[in-house]
Symmetry: C2
């Protein structure tokens, strides 16, 4: 186990009707809010009007950025940061999924920065402070509601890049599983796989003796495998939605990576796909993950992949065969969620795979469980293209 | 799953040599510290001198309360609270195990209270504020380093009572597994069982559909079962000590109880034993737990006890038989750690069992997994007495 520092500053308000605590949480930070939301689903389901009523009841003034996209654009960030500066905003409130929260985070950082917020992604500027961020979550997937990360896309440069700072961690997050009842099956599947992928990226690691972290990771994987199909079949099954929502937050709040080297190669590759094609992140991960697993399997990584097969899928067998069986179980599970299983099926063009592999490895090899150079990434992309 | 609010304000500094961050952590709160420690083991292993050097290097003034006992006494609390008032202390630093941290917490609350700190336990006063508390942990057991709880004994009234307040949660905790290398096998066993008991008290619950919490609980139980015996046999096995230390913090920081009713009957009974006999808490729990499990087993509780047997001990079988097998595995495991297995063996007198049962249920029935009235508690105590 490696040394680590860990701090979870987010106040979690979890459960039915917890929106009633929104006014109190905001009031810890002030009374001028920038409300950030997406494509209007919160207007259709009544949440928008509920939030506005809470603003009125608590004498909270607000301005808005709406239309945040599934892969949030730097243009929305720029617009929000300007509004914060003009209106002397005290808190940026995201109401939506991970994309909306990511966008709100960088708006909050941009509010106190004179330059262009894209600088935070190119390395030209570091985020050392930000306005407080709060979140009302409507999708179980990214874990952004409890962590320091944000991923933003730039259409002009065809880049999708991430950054992280403890200043970005939401001060509070309201997690009401009922808000995810209206998430359609395909998006529920993509969200479930996004959560599983976050766990995989931290579970498969070269760091030895991380027993407790690994058992915690398996707990979250089992939760996704158990409840993902239930939430797809019964969209308003509260317990399924609640377990998935809490798994999403716990999977990427720092708990699983504490004391370990992490991998993140699959995410690195997927970001290049969704930068070019605006693919749903979880769908891209679903296609890539089994191919990544097959590619990294060797005599050195087999023990951990076999342990995964044994502890998560209850399989038995000789180590290498067991590892392979666990990988195929994973692929079967993803397929059972009715998601596409090849990059070709989602419109990715074969002649752009090399370009993605170049960009994915432009900062050096990906991953730590097994280091992946350009040719490795291209091999994985080609296998995922064929499916 | 029930609604919940959750907040982990403690900054965790985990690993070898993390004491080097102590000066920086203290300096967030001021430069006048009350140092609280126990029976002097930190003087023998050099930690005391190391802490004093850090105080000197960071211009931190300090006064001391030493001699805090394994079941910390209200007399130490009173002494510490007085010192805080007299010396305008900014932070109370506990260096030791859970008892020392518990003592430091109530000192910190008492520092801002005009009356007697025992009032916090009798219900005469509520803790709404306290000086900041920091901890350097030297024993993996109670989880006090990351939670709001404190248990204090009062010799005059022969009471051992607990209280909790978010104001008591340590602002930072330094967790260096090497500090636990010198913990002798019997105490290592007691600490491991204390951790397991904290998990049991939250794992066995009448709340349905707490899948993720239950899998997380099993992760922690497996960690204790795997590493407890290793840490006893190889006291300086870093990985065993590290996994146990982190399990101890995670087992009682709020994560496992979030969304559930919890039980705490076994702890309630054990507190009456150690209030009268100054028994090591984990030893008392080791004796009581299998008897509690046997007593609460019925057709309603069998499914959960069977799930425990299946998921933690990898047993199979028909539900009631499986539940019984899991309980006996638990008893065997505790026995394998060379701890006493009956109350008679540790000097408890049979003619005081009724008195303990009366006191344990003086506030009403214990537990939620199965409610225990006076006669139930007495039955468990009698079974545990015989062993």
């Amino acid at each position: 186990m490696l040394n680590f520092n860990l701090h979870f500053p987010t106040r979690i308000c979890f459960g039915r009707g917890k929106i009633e605590e929104l006014g109190r949480e905001i009031s810890r930070y002030g009374n001028k809010v920038l409300l950030v939301y997406g494509q209007g689903s919160i207007k259709r389901n009544g949440l928008y009007e509920q939030v506005l009523q809470i603003f009125r009841d608590n004498s909270i003034a607000h301005v808005e950025v709406s239309g945040v996209q599934a892969n949030p654009r730097i243009s929305s960030v720029r617009q929000g940061a300007e509004l914060c500066k003009k209106n002397d905003i005290h808190l940026v409130l995201a109401v939506g999924g991970g994309s909306t929260i990511d966008c709100a985070k960088i708006i909050a950082a941009g509010a106190g920065y004179e330059g262009d917020p894209w600088d935070f992604f190119t390395g030209r500027a570091r985020i050392s402070h930000a306005l407080p961020v709060g979140a009302v979550l409507t999708l179980a997937a990214t874990g952004s509601e409890m962590n320091s990360n944000a991923v933003i896309s730039n259409d002009e440069t065809a880049q999708k890049l991430g950054t992280a700072s403890s200043a970005l961690i939401p001060r509070f997050s309201i997690l009401d599983p009922e808000y995810t009842f209206s998430v359609p099956p395909a998006q529920t599947a993509a969200g479930t796989i996004d959560i599983m992928s976050h766990v995989f990226e931290q579970y498969f690691s070269p760091t030895p003796d991380t027993f407790i972290q690994d058992r915690l990771a398996e707990a979250m994987l089992k939760t996704c495998i158990h409840y993902g199909p239930i939430a797809m079949a019964e969209p308003d099954n509260y317990e399924a939605r609640a377990n998935l929502m809490w798994a999403g937050s716990l999977a990427l709040n720092g708990l699983l990576k504490a004391g370990k080297h992490t991998d993140w190669a699959t995410h690195g590759i997927e970001h290049e796909i969704s930068a070019l094609y605006d693919v749903t992140h979880g769908l891209g991960l679903a296609i890539l993950t089994p191919h990544w697993m097959r590619y990294v399997l060797d005599s050195r990584t087999a023990p951990q992949l076999a342990e995964y097969a044994r502890n998560v899928w209850n399989l038995e067998g000789e180590e290498m065969a067991l590892a392979r069986a666990g990988i195929e179980k994973t692929a079967e599970f993803f397929k059972s969620l009715n998601l596409a299983t090849s990059l070709s099926a989602i419109g990715v063009e074969e002649n752009r795979l090399a370009e993605m592999a170049v960009k994915a490895t432009s900062g050096g090899a990906l991953g730590s469980f097994k280091k992946l150079e350009y040719q490795d990434v291209l091999n994985i992309l080609q296998a995922a293209y064929a499916g």
